[in-house]
């Protein structure tokens, strides 16, 4: 693994993620027009490079004549909020439970592991839809649903890695150094699983973006008057034969966001591991 390759992944992945974050942050300043403004004269207007396009609607307009570009920009907000908040909370919950299960063992491990087994036997998206239906729609519900469903992803991996680390002789060495179990967990075990957790976090963020898109596709995310990528796909689906761009642009953006996050995760994995980092 060369340094050049490592930098390439972090730079490209991190660059795109940072760009998306900036777009979300400054959405009102960046969007050329109001994303909710309807203009029925501009209904299903094509993007700029096609004939009879309107220069004020660079990426065309949807079936209500709303500007696709402005809607894409504003929809980056819910997507990134969900990615960051749900991703981080999922990481904290899953990692804490995974560390406990792997390091304490015994009854605690059995309890947590069985819970993971039961949890993972539900189809994730259906469980998410069920949960949101129960606790109501909105960004909060989407975040809660993702955390409640996906903590198992962190828990399983962290538990397995903690078990593997606990077998290592340096843990025995730390115990025979007279350190307390808690100190050993945080000082000896955690640094060794941290790279893994950070890689999982980027993965989890991309999954959160997809789940948010799925939930807004079925109308269970934020209210329908604010734009979301999933909602745009759902609307575009109905006019796919007349105006492909209404659906294609949000799909492309989701794809780019997920790819960038995974690329960043890959880059970080090598950068954070002291053995691979040279």
């Amino acid at each position: 693994m060369t340094t050049a390759l490592l930098n390439w992944r972090i730079l490209v992945g991190g660059g795109i993620v940072a760009l998306l974050a900036l777009i979300a942050l400054f959405a009102p300043l960046l969007a050329p027009v109001d994303p909710l403004e309807q203009d029925l004269f501009l209904e299903l207007l094509p993007p700029w490079w096609q004939a009879d396009a309107d220069p004020t609607r660079a990426l065309g307009a949807d079936s209500l004549g709303r500007d696709v570009l402005s809607r894409l920009i504003h929809a980056a907000r819910p997507a990134l909020i969900v990615a960051v908040v749900a991703g981080t909370l999922t990481m904290l919950l899953g990692t804490a439970l995974g560390l406990m299960a792997g390091y304490m063992g015994g009854v605690v491990d059995t309890l947590i592991s069985r819970m993971v087994d039961i949890w993972t036997s539900f189809p994730a998206v259906l469980l998410a839809i069920m949960l949101v239906a129960l606790i109501g729609t909105g960004l909060h519900s989407v975040i809660i649903a993702i955390v409640l469903i996906d903590w198992t992803r962190f828990c399983r991996v962290v538990r397995a890695e903690t078990l593997a680390q606990a077998e290592m002789e340096y843990i025995d060495a730390a115990v025979t150094g007279g350190l307390r179990r808690g100190a050993i967990l945080f000082r000896e075990v955690l640094p060794n699983i941290l790279p893994l957790v950070i890689v999982l976090l980027t993965l989890e963020m991309s999954i959160a973006i997809i789940v948010e898109a799925v939930l807004s596709f079925v109308g269970l995310s934020v209210s329908s008057d604010s734009p979301t990528w999933g909602g745009m796909i759902a609307e575009g689906r109905q006019v796919i034969h007349q105006a492909w761009w209404v659906m294609a642009f949000p799909m492309g953006l989701i794809l780019i966001a997920v790819l960038a996050l995974n690329l960043l995760g890959d880059g970080l994995k090598t950068a954070l591991d002291p053995v691979l980092r040279r």
């Binding site: 002789e169 340096y170 025995d172 060495a173 025979t176 060794n192």
Partner: protein, 288 residues
């Protein structure tokens, strides 16, 4: 000579039944190296782990006592036991590859016990770590301090681990096969180093190994184990020149020698094993 370690009638058993160590007694005096020899599964590592309190969950000490400077380690509270570990009793791990934490710098790992037990400041502990690395003759000690374990060779890592064990000037060091993972030439240097350090610091060492040749080089006293039983015990000169137990004699005959052709290897006869296994079975019959 006062006793540092006094193990009496130690029995280590599986929780689901069955013994791994069958009433073993041994003493280590101040400044002495005591070799604990036996084949794989003879129970030598279990004895070492019992002293250090790191027996696996499935295993426990069922009877006996482990005296350290007059107090029974088994009767200490976890808190008081932890205060001894790393301060009065230290360990040299078996495998230099996994004995150091891969994601922490050498200096951080070396200064843990100095800071924890002796309350030294970061700078003070670093100075002591540097002095220790010089003492175990590592080249470029200043640079090594800031390296990660994977940047060092196996021999260097074992030197670091030895330096760490002696850091707090403990009275007893448990060395569990500290040279097994190293190649023969490095092994010899490491053995010499442990012996030098031990003599200079007056430390008692319980040296666990399967290699009688190593025992002969480094130990004052030796205990030979088979199936968790003591088959032979005494000073190294005595055991080497007139071993009483057939197993010890067979083990000495089985040690390969460079001045003899390879076809002169003599495995321990099956009958010797069988006698000792029978003895273990009789023991278990009496002590279920």
């Amino acid at each position: 000579m006062s006793l540092i370690l006094d193990i009496a009638g130690l029995r280590v058993s599986l929780r689901r039944g069955g013994h791994l160590v069958r009433d073993v007694s041994l003493q280590v005096a101040t400044g002495q190296v005591h070799g604990l020899v036996g084949e794989s599964g003879a129970g030598k590592t279990m004895i070492a782990k019992a002293v250090l309190g790191i027996l696996p969950d499935a295993v426990r000490v069922s009877t006996g006592s482990i005296g350290f400077k007059g107090t029974d380690l088994l009767s200490l509270s976890p808190r008081r036991f932890r205060a001894l570990l790393g301060r009065e009793i230290a360990m040299i791990p078996q495998d230099p590859l996994t004995g150091l934490n891969p994601s922490r710098r050498i200096v951080a790992q070396m200064t843990d016990t100095l800071r924890h037990h002796l309350g030294q400041s970061r700078g003070e502990a670093r100075g002591n770590a540097l002095r220790l690395l010089q003492e175990v003759q590592i080249r470029d000690p200043e640079k090594v301090l800031d390296r990660y374990p994977h940047e060092l060779s196996g021999g260097m890592r074992q030197r670091v681990l030895i330096a760490m064990a002696f850091a707090t000037e403990p009275s007893l060091i448990i060395a569990d096969e500290p040279t097994t993972a190293l190649d023969v030439t490095v092994q010899k240097q490491i053995l010499r180093l442990i012996r030098q350090m031990q003599e200079r610091h007056g430390t008692a060492v319980l040296f666990v190994t399967h290699d009688l040749g190593v025992v002969a080089k480094i130990c004052h006293q030796v205990t030979v184990l088979h199936t968790g039983q003591v088959v032979e015990q005494g000073s190294i000169d005595h055991v080497m020149s007139n071993a009483a137990a057939p197993f010890t004699r067979a083990l000495m005959a089985a040690t390969p020698r460079y001045d003899q052709p390879a076809d002169a290897l003599h495995p321990v006869p099956e009958a010797v094993h069988q006698t000792l296994r029978d003895a273990a079975r009789t023991f278990d019959g009496r002590n279920p």
